[in-house]
Every structure is written in C-alpha cells, then in structure tokens.
Symmetry: C2
Subunit: 85 residues, 2 copies
C-alpha cells in the first residue's frame, strides 16, 4: 500500500532561529507591525510503500532520526495517510 507521510520539522523552543528572525524583520519592514515572532522549519512530503499505516509511521520516524531531523535543535511531527496513487 502507498502512504503519504507529512513531516513537520521545526526549531525547538529556546533555539535561536536566525532565518525566522530575518523573515520577521522583513515582514515588519513592509508594514506587518503585528508580527510577534516567526520561526521557520521544514515541511517534507514523503510517499512510501508500507504494509500498514503503523508501519509507514514507524518507517518515517526512522528516516527522521537517521537523516532528516537534527534532534539537538529540531522537533518533529509526523502524520501518515493512505494515498490512492
């Protein structure tokens, strides 16, 4: 079966996010004064074959810990859905 794993990766609380700071400043500069904070992470869509939704979730979790996520500074959230393709 084919699944789509949607993986959100974002800086841990307390970790300095320089890209977010820069984007926040740019938004203020073009008039969005209501901005309080911006933090920038990654959104990875990952299509994979797996025997079940649980197996797909476990697999995606392994990919995160082995390659996609830096545990020291990033948090992750994974959602998996069955995918018709």
């Amino acid at each position: 079966m084919k699944f789509l794993a949607k993986i959100l990766i974002f800086p841990k609380e307390g970790v300095l996010d320089t890209q977010g700071k820069a984007v926040g400043r740019s938004l203020k500069r073009i008039g969005f004064e209501e901005i309080k904070e911006v933090r920038i992470g990654k959104y990875i869509q990952l299509w994979l074959e797996a025997a079940s939704e649980e197996a797909a979730l476990v697999k995606a979790g392994s990919m995160c810990s082995e390659l996609l996520v830096n545990d020291l500074i990033e948090d992750q959230r994974i959602e998996v859905e069955r995918c018709g393709l």
Copy 2:
C-alpha cells in the same frame, strides 16, 4: 488577541523539486528502498496580534502573497489558532 498561524509552503505539482530528489536518493542509499517520492517545503510558525481569527487568517494570507510564497512554483496552506501567550 494573539494568534499562531501555521503556514505550509510546498512545491506545486509538476514543479521539479531538486532538494526533494536529492533527499529521496540519500534515503534510498541508506536503505529506505520503499521511498517513492520526496518533496520538500517550508513550515512557518508565525505569532501575531489580530482582532479575530479571521483577521489573523487574512493577515497571514497577505504576508504569504507579499513575501513568503512564490505563487508561480509554490502552494500554501494556512491554519490559525488562538494562542494563550
């Protein structure tokens, strides 16, 4: 009131995503043969002041079209939630 806008920005279907291709190849190389496709986008968390949830959504939409998203090659999805802080 303070809101958190969660913005997903990802490559449109049909647009070549070289970063996704590279990550897909790397995942296969370290043993994840079940990978079919990988696409990489951005996940932006944005805290802002607004009068209502709708106002926050409209504001976040403007920020996307004015700075954060390249309409030609990227799609976006925005969720807004009330935020206690």
